[in-house]
Symmetry: C2
Subunit: 124 residues, 2 copies
């Protein structure tokens, strides 16, 4: 019999990026650390090709898409894969391998947190 | 007497960037043109220093700030000016010169439009 126990899988980088850390940008000046974490997410959406891919996944009928579903953005499949990986690293997408393909889905909590960052508080 | 008339000042680039062009990213895949316009705004917030400056202006008491008000982000005044100009070019800030200083304020309609882009529609 083995002594090895299944430990919960830790994904430190993903978790770090995903955490909706911060108040709305209009509430108070961000600290350097808050800005560092948050800028990563905005940067991931700051590229036109990546933004198109993100909206392709985000609006996919089944709520998920693989590279095999995406063919009309005018870049090669390796480039599509590269950008989807970047979006995942920024915490905006999650992925699951099934057979040959990796399927991506939007992480709704992160999207909601980003949306909240941009809400304007009514000022006098 | 002079024939020169004051013409209304056109700011084509600023106007173009400001227009809240697009539906939520989750609604349908973005076209290349929509992605191009929208990525500019996200890219502007995709830099930690720029994001700190943006939140400093956005949360300023009078609703506006000049370079003279911002001194604690650890970069030089010319760098602060450069980043504020970038944020303005992306349509996220507006500016007004008064005396020696240029005062910046957040463009709330653009912020609201970006926030809306990130809203998640309930999917089955």
């Amino acid at each position: 019999m083995s002594n090895v126990k299944a430990l919960p899988l830790l994904e430190p980088e993903a978790h770090e990026a995903v955490a909706p850390c911060c108040p709305p940008l209009t509430e108070r000046p961000f600290t350097a650390e808050e800005a560092e974490r948050t800028a990563r997410m905005f940067k991931a959406l700051g590229d036109p090709v990546r933004l198109r891919l993100f909206s392709a996944v985000a609006s996919a009928e089944a709520g998920e898409a693989c590279v095999c579903d995406i063919s009309d953005v005018g870049v090669s499949q390796p480039t599509v894969s590269h950008h989807l990986k970047k979006l995942k690293e920024a915490g905006l997408l999650t992925s699951e391998r099934r057979g040959t393909w990796v399927y991506y889905r939007v992480e709704p909590s992160v999207l909601a947190a980003m949306s909240k960052l941009l809400t304007t508080t009514a000022t006098p």
